[in-house]
Symmetry: C2
Subunit: 292 residues, 2 copies
C-alpha cells in the first residue's frame, strides 16, 4: 500500500492516530519538503516516529516518483506531506502514477490552511477561490491573483491568499552554470505580500483594494496554540506598517475581507485587531456591517 | 483550558495525537452530536479514549454553554466535534463565550470536508464559495443556494454542496404539543440533492445546470479508505439515476464542476466515473477541456 499522509499544520503531534500507525508499519517513509514547511525539524519527527525519514524534494516527487513507489505493491510505503495531501497538484500526479502501476493507495487527511483559516473567525462559507501570491522580481510581476481577488470581492467574498515560499531554488547564475548550489529558503512575509497587493492595485486602480479601508487578516502558524499562532487583523495600511516580528515566524497567510462580512465575524476577529476601534469602524462604515 | 478538538472525518483513529492527549488530560469530555456525524458510535470512541463522553446536543452547545465551560479556568475540558472546529458557526459562539468568561481556549484542527473534498481530484484552488442544501418540504423550498452556484459557475469555479442532516428534529405535531419526541435522524442523499438542484434549475432556467451535460461528483465517507469511501462522477442525470446504495452510507457531499476544469482533474476523477466515455466527452465538448 502507498500511503500519502497529511501531517497537519504545526508539529509532530498533529499527525492522526491512523497516520501514525501507517508510518510505523511502513518499510520506507518519505518526507516531502518543498510545497510547505512544518514548524519542526526532520530529526524531531524521526525521534517521535522512531523511524528514519527520507527527504523528498520536488525533483524526486515529480520526476522520480517510481523510486518512491518501488515495491509499494508488496510492502507499505508512506509519503508525508505538510497539511493535507490535496493541497498541491503534485500529489495527484503521484497517485495517478501509482494507479498506472497497479499500486493501491490510501490518503490520510489532515487539517490544512484551506480549512484552518477559519481560526481567524471568518466563516468558511464566505470564502471564494483561494489565490497564490509569488515573489515579485524587478522584471516579473505576475498579477493574475488580482483578477481572482476582484472576482471574489465583487461577490462580497473573502479571499485566502497563500504566500510564496522558495525552497531549494538556484540563483540565475548557478542555474545557468549548472551548479547545484541552492539559496537559503525564503518565505514571503505579510508586509511583502501586502505591499505587492497595494502595488498592483495602484497599477490597476479598480478600487478592489483600498489601503486605508480594506480589511485583512494575517495568520501565521495556525494550530500552534498560544505560543506560536499569531493572528493580526487590520487595514492593509495597518498590516504593512505593523512590526515584522509581531507576525511571528513563517508560514504566513493572508485573508482579504469581503463585503459579505457578518457582525459575528467582526466581533470574533476584533480580538486580533491592531486597532479595535478602527477595525469596527471600517466594518461598520465601509463594509456596512450592523454593529452596535 | 477549554479545548475544541476536531475529530476528522471517519472514525476514532482520525483524531490527532495532540487531540488525543488533550482528551486524556480532560476532566470532562463533551461530544457534539448534531452538526455532522462521525462514522462510529459513541461507545467505540469511549473505549478508544478510555473516557466517558457526554453528548452535547444543539441546545446544550448553543444555550447552555456555561455548563460545558464550568471550571474550565481551573481544569481541562474538551468539546469534540466532527471534522474541524470551524465548520459551523456555533463553535465561534462558544469560544466567544469562553473569552468573555476569561477562560483560555485552544483549537485542535483536523480535516474537514472543506479540504478533504480534494480527494475527488478537483483542485481546491478551483472551488468558489461552499453552499448548503436543505431538505425541501411541500411548502418550503429555499433556493438561495442556486444563486451561489450560479455565481461560482459564472466564474468557471466548482461548488462544494453540503447536504442537509436532521438530527433530533421534532415533527410539527410534537413541536406544537411541546412533546420532546424526536424523529429518527435523516441525511440527504445524493439523488435527493441532485433532484432538488434540477427542480430549481427548471424554475429559474438560467442554464447554470444542465442535467445531461453538467458534471458533478458525489462523495461519501471521505477518508474512510477503500472499505468506506465512495466517489461517483457523472452528469446530473447519471447521478440521479444511479443506484442509491452505490453511493454508500451518509454523509454525502456533492461537487458541481465548473468550466475552469483542468485536464488533469478530468483524468484523476474519471476513475470514479459512472461512464468514462461520457465523462470525458462532456469535459471535452461542454467544458472545453483539452483531452486527447
Amino acid at each position: 500500500m502507498f500511503y500519502i499522509i497529511g501531517l497537519g499544520l504545526c508539529d509532530e503531534k498533529d499527525v492522526t492516530v491512523r497516520g501514525l500507525e501507517a508510518i510505523k508499519g511502513s518499510s520506507r517513509v518519505y518526507l516531502e519538503a518543498y510545497t510547505s514547511i512544518l514548524m519542526v525539524q526532520k530529526e524531531k519527527l524521526e525521534a517521535f516516529y522512531k523511524k528514519p525519514l527520507i527527504l523528498a524534494d520536488r525533483d524526486m516527487v515529480e520526476t522520480e516518483s517510481d523510486e518512491i513507489l518501488a515495491n509499494a505493491d508488496r510492502e507499505d510505503v508512506s509519503l508525508l506531506v505538510v497539511g493535507d495531501p490535496f493541497g498541491a497538484t503534485t500529489h495527484t500526479d503521484i497517485i495517478l502514477r501509482a494507479r498506472a502501476l497497479g499500486i493501491p493507495t490510501r490518503v490520510i487527511h489532515n487539517a490544512s490552511i484551506m480549512n484552518a483559516v477559519g481560526a481567524c473567525g471568518l466563516q468558511l462559507y464566505n470564502f471564494g477561490q483561494t489565490v497564490s501570491l509569488v515573489f515579485f522580481t524587478e522584471t516579473w510581476k505576475p498579477d493574475s491573483f488580482y483578477d481572482r481577488i476582484k472576482e471574489n470581492a465583487d461577490l462580497g467574498l473573502h479571499t485566502l491568499v497563500l504566500l510564496d515560499i522558495k525552497v531549494k531554488e538556484q540563483s540565475e547564475e548557478n542555474l545557468a552554470r549548472g551548479r547545484k548550489i541552492y539559496e537559503p529558503p525564503r518565505y514571503m512575509s505579510i508586509r511583502q505580500a501586502v505591499s505587492q497587493l497595494i502595488e498592483i492595485e495602484s497599477l490597476r486602480q479598480t478600487g478592489t483594494l483600498s489601503p486605508d479601508t480594506t480589511l485583512a487578516v494575517a495568520l501565521s502558524r495556525v494550530g500552534g496554540g498560544s505560543d506560536n499562532q499569531r493572528i493580526v487583523a487590520g487595514t492593509l495600511t495597518e498590516l504593512v506598517n505593523h512590526p515584522e516580528d509581531a507576525f511571528g515566524d513563517p508560514l504566513h497567510s493572508l485573508v482579504i475581507v469581503g463585503k459579505r462580512l457578518h457582525h459575528l465575524e467582526v466581533e470574533y476577529a476584533q480580538d486580533f485587531a491592531v486597532d479595535v476601534e478602527r477595525w469596527r469602524n471600517s466594518a461598520k462604515k465601509v463594509y456596512g456591517c450592523a454593529l452596535d
